[in-house]
């Protein structure tokens, strides 16, 4: 198991290198000019000097290796220094945003908490909704509950989050006036009242993403439960005189969760991607909004860094999913 994990980790490195190079190339080879959004009054020779200072006149490979070194060596050291206070950070340049002229990692660190809050809570809410839905749907297959549940999860799976989000705003913010339509990230929770305000503003983005996740997970859980409910070991457990509750919730659920857990792990990066849209709907200034703003203003370093972080997430969580599969299912051994 350990050797498998190490081998996969080593294999992940060329994958990430290749993806980072593709991201770099797409952004670099595009005909966009980093000085295009600057005022037109800047004379051409000064403009050329600005381009020189941004390092965009070097050969592509030189730029790529400079960026890669900053990305995988300098920036993590800066992160360690920021987190622990040890003076390990190297002197020299960092990845600087064209827009704000500040390190990209600082921008990401400012925006990460909001995204993590919304995405994290919505994923947990999604799992909490999906568990009972999937279990009861499978246990009472073809009952009214199952029919309604499968229909709802089909709807939740088909309706895009940008429509559910807008629909929620129309119903709960515009017509009923229960919740605010904009997520205020400067809000600080100090006492009960401010906690209620926080709860009110987070409930809509979390429910929109949560329902979408729940519908996906419950479909997998239902299918996996149905596979297991007809197995011989279930009949054995019943024949031993175990109560139905223990048979379903312990024996069957434990075995059904194996594929579902890996699906949950595999879907984490997709949820981050989906959060780009939800953040746009509810005006959450998270990492997705940072990406959109950076794309619109041609801020190449931010776009490259955020896309690379998404790529790392995908590779990391697919690795986690594979390892979890091996840990949870003793029949699967990677040797």
């Amino acid at each position: 198991m350990l050797t498998y994990t190490i081998r996969r980790l080593i294999l992940a490195i060329p994958t990430l290198l290749f993806i980072s190079f593709i991201i770099f190339l797409i952004v670099k080879l595009s005909p966009s000019d980093p000085t295009a959004s600057l005022p037109l009054t800047i004379p051409p020779d000064v403009r050329e000097l600005i381009r020189e200072s941004l390092g965009v006149n070097d050969p592509v490979f030189v730029q790529y290796f400079k960026w890669l070194k900053l990305m995988v060596w300098d920036e993590p050291l800066h992160f360690i220094e920021g987190a622990t206070g040890w003076p390990v950070a190297p002197e020299g340049p960092r990845i600087i945003s064209y827009q704000t002229r500040s390190p990209v990692m600082d921008l990401i660190a400012q925006r990460m908490p909001q995204t993590l809050w919304v995405v994290g809570t919505s994923y947990i809410v999604g799992i909490l909704i999906a568990l009972p839905l999937g279990i009861i749907s499978a246990y009472r297959q073809y009952s009214i509950f199952d029919q309604v549940g499968t229909f709802i999860s089909m709807v939740g799976f088909s309706v895009p989050t940008f429509f559910t989000g807008v629909l929620f705003i129309v119903i709960f913010a515009v017509n009923l006036g229960w919740f605010p339509s904009v997520y205020n990230t400067t809000h600080v929770v100090t006492d009960w009242d401010s906690f209620v305000v926080q709860l009110k503003q987070i409930i809509m983005p979390v429910m929109v993403l949560g329902l979408y996740n729940a519908s996906q997970i419950s479909r997998y859980l239902r299918a996996s439960m149905l596979d297991n409910l007809n197995q011989d070991y279930v009949r054995t457990a019943r024949a031993k005189g175990l109560t139905e509750k223990i048979v379903v919730l312990v024996h069957v659920l434990k075995n059904s969760m194996i594929p579902v857990v890996t699906v949950i792990a595999l879907n984490v990066p997709a949820v981050f991607g989906g959060a780009i849209i939800t953040e746009q709907v509810f005006k959450v200034n998270g990492i997705g909004q940072l990406l959109i703003i950076a794309i619109q203003s041609g801020d190449v370093p931010v776009v490259q860094t955020v896309s690379f972080i998404f790529a790392v997430l995908i590779v990391l969580f697919s690795l986690i999913a594979d390892i979890l599969y091996g840990v949870l299912d003793p029949r699967i051994r990677y040797d």
């Binding site: 994958t15 515009v174 339509s181 849209i277």
Partner: protein, 318 residues
Amino acid sequence: MTETADRTAAPAPATPALAAEFETYAAPRNQWWDVWDQFKTHKGALFGLGFFVFTLLFVFVGPLVWTMDPQFIDIRARNAGPSLAHPMGTDQLGRDTMARMMAGGQTSIAVGLTAMALALLLGTLVGVLAGYFRRLDGLLMRTTDLFLAMPLLPLLLVTIMLFRDPLRANFGPEGGIFVLIVFMIGVTSWMQTARVVRAEVLALKEREFVLAARSIGTPSRRMITRHLLPNVMSPIMVSATLGIANAIITESALSFLGLGFPSDFPTWGRLLFDATDWLTQNPERVIWPGMAISLTVLSVNYIGDGLRDALDPRIRGR
């Protein structure tokens, strides 16, 4: 499968016993009739098919009946609710929403169908090549894995933002964006099809009829087109439905983020995006495009569900 489908009834000899058998003998039918029979038993799928046909009619035949120009500006009738003159109301410039829904649907569905076709073509090509030629397998499947590990939505956004202007200059404002969006969605969504097709081809390669075909000297090209492709039609058709749903949603998401088609060229996603600015004055404007996207995707997903059951010979006939 298909190779047994067009067997015809043998001419009956004149003996009485066989004559009786001949009378009860039903002509063999095409296997697709069996598939259709099974498909009909899936209520959701049938309903989905009905709704999808309705949407196609609304979008492509509708403009012949409802002849209002989607770009016609009637500023005095702006922000109107549903009425007889404008069954779905008007927008902030007084353009008729129903006409715009039809025009937008044409683009959305056209993007969905073309992007799906491109993704299927790529996926089937990669899948068949990887499954059939062992030498290509490693390389093609590593490429597929790489594509699966890409952050697709950010990359889609970046490419569309960056390459929008040169393509617009070459193909015109609408054509350029259409080519770009269809190409990008197609290029980023073929991986699942490729994996499924490869697995099927690997299994088929071991079957006797393939061995028989090879033993009479069938060249690879005809082997693929004649024996393998017809037998991997089922998974391809199921991925086709999923592909349409995925492409429609992706296009709407891009338009919703303001990186899709220009605003004077409506698509359902663009109409939804434009309507969000008028949520408080005119909330019903977001309902039409949102419902159209959601119901189309839902119906396509149900068709996919029904097709998967209907094309599975283990379920069919039960």
